[in-house]
Amino acid sequence: MSNYFKDWRLSGLLAVMLVAGLILAGCGGQQPGGTTGTPEKVTLNGAGASFPYPLYSKWFDEYKKKTNEAVTINYQSIGSGGGIKNITDKTVDFGASDAPMKDDQLQKAPGELFHIPTVMGAVVVTFNLEGVSTGLKMSPETVAGIFLGEIKKWNDPKLTSINPGVQLPDKDIVVVHRSDGSGTTNIFTDYLSSVSPAWKEKVGKGTSVEWPAGVGAKGNEGVSGQVKQTPGGVGYVELAYAVENKLPYAFIQNKDGKFVEPTIESTTAAAAAAAASMPADMRVSIVNPPGADSYPISGYTYLLVYKNQDDQTKGKALVDFLWWAVHDGEKFARDLLYAPLPDNVVKLAENKIKQINYQGKQLLQQ
């Protein structure tokens, strides 16, 4: 007997580990909100853009509360490129991207994908320069020059000439750009291509481009972190990331020649200027629009969902959430420095959400 007992010690330890692991896994599922009578629990998984992540993580927490813990939405900020890849592979229930998918990308997807815009955000040029705070002015040529690696010092005449009174040091500029496929990069390079012929010719636009200068960092999180730790650093991030990290950012000269601060208002103004030309599928670029108050580098961010859903329960949860997001969800946007959708865009989004179906049956119930 005792021999057997000894033999069991090792296997006993492993068995205990296994059981404990399973219990933990089991507990995990039930831990929050074990109330009875709640509707069936649904988990939706999504992944993609880091640009709207601060807002989305807030949304998913609020929405979980609102549905009495019935709907859990797990979102991972892996970059727009990853979001597009994952929704194409159908490894997630929805994707997210700030770069509208290209026609050939849409064709690769196994079903018809909708772009549902959620909010708009501004991409700001943020920097780390002792003694220089928000309000440093940059013209389109300057921004292009810096990111092309042609403007190498902070006291370059191109910067000093438009910033009288600002003490710019004789310091090297360290460009930080995204290393992952990024919708923020798409907006930023779209802007640079539209204002700088040199950029358009040498680099072009896209979710990932061949950067002529600088170091890479992953996600908006990574770029903000890198700029924060690098004296002389300059990078481009979503406005919320700069503000939350107390990083200064530049005022950019717009099409009308005015230097504009990136704010919710100036982003909304940009969207309003571009709203008239919104196509039905909502894949649109709003960089460098006209209008004295328009901030020139901004864009929509989208959730990517299949028109034909494979799973009724999940599909229903998804459309309910989308409806909530473009209506009630918008009121969280301002606090986190995103611009809510203009009314005409909400109408277009509603129209799309209504078309989402399971085996031909509309999933949204009003």
Binding site: L10, M17, G21, L22, G29, S57, K58, D89, T91
Partner: protein, 279 residues
């Protein structure tokens, strides 16, 4: 005399250098433990073990889900890899013959050398895309694949260290080959085998790249083994590269928890083995 003097001097120099190298080996470990403890302790409080992470930009929150997630995945990975690794190790040491054994041994070493991110991509294609979602299961498979060669090779090494005379004695007493392997060889090598398994567990617990591709991550509790799951390693990664101070300190906290978890497992395993061998 001169020669003797030279020899002694050389002896001294080499001894000192060896000792100095030994100290150099320890320094990084001590520094890692020191930094992790110093920065990690500040982030750790009761809520760290019981709360879920907060939305971006809000302070507080914990990593209860990540702790449970790492535990779940490593346990499952051990369950998947231990039988295979152990038996492959027994094969290599006890029963394997000729070319096949050499091939298995060589391929095990190759598998051991495959960068873990490659394993992640492999499992992504094989399991995640096929299943249609990221899952705790896929993460465990990836970790299991990483653990198998470690367990196999350490088991083999340990079994080969058992003296041949012991095997012969067992067989001479009329024990079958199976009885010899199970009751004599495995038994006397158990201490080393457990250590090998623990090394594999520790390695798996700290892996980030393969988990990132397979289990994704989860801000909430895992909802089942076929759903994405949080893990400490991925949290350390995402929080570490974030720009938020609060997240940095939480990443240190998670690192400390991970180190303590692995240390605790190691010590438990050793105690169990010692208790067994004591009798």
């Amino acid at each position: 005399m001169d020669r003797m003097y030279l020899r002694r001097a050389r002896n001294l120099v080499m001894s000192v250098m060896c000792m100095a190298s030994a100290v150099v080996v320890i320094i990084p470990l001590v520094m890692i433990l020191f930094y992790v403890a110093a920065d990690g302790l500040r982030a750790i409080n009761w809520g760290f073990f019981t709360n879920l992470p907060k939305p971006v930009g809000e302070t507080g929150g914990g990593m209860a889900n990540a702790i449970a997630g790492t535990f779940t995945m490593v346990t499952l990975a051990t369950g998947l890899s231990l039988p295979v690794g152990l038996m492959a190790g027994i094969y290599l040491s006890e029963f394997g013959r000729g070319r096949l054994r050499e091939a298995v041994r060589f391929l095990t070493d190759v598998l051991n050398g495959v960068p873990s991110i490659i394993t992640g991509i492999f499992v992504y294609v094989l399991v995640v895309v096929a299943m249609g979602r990221y899952s705790a299961l896929a993460g465990s498979v990836a970790l299991g694949i990483i653990m198998i060669p470690i367990i196999t090779r350490s088991t083999e090494e340990m079994l080969r260290m058992v003296p041949k005379s012991l095997r012969e004695a067992s067989l001479a007493l009329g024990a079958t080959e199976q009885q010899t392997v199970v009751k004599i060889v495995l038994r006397s090598a158990s201490g080393g085998i457990v250590t090998g398994v623990m090394l594999a567990v520790a390695r798996a617990a700290g892996e980030t790249a393969p988990v990132l591709f397979t289990a994704l991550n989860n801000r909430y509790w895992n909802q089942g083994l076929d759903q994405p799951i949080a893990s400490l390693a991925v949290f350390i990664y995402t929080y570490g590269i974030s720009p938020f101070e609060d997240w940095h300190s939480q990443a240190w906290g998670a690192a400390l928890v991970l180190v303590v978890m692995v240390l605790f497992l190691n010590i438990t395993a050793r105690l169990v083995v010692r208790a067994r061998q004591g009798r």
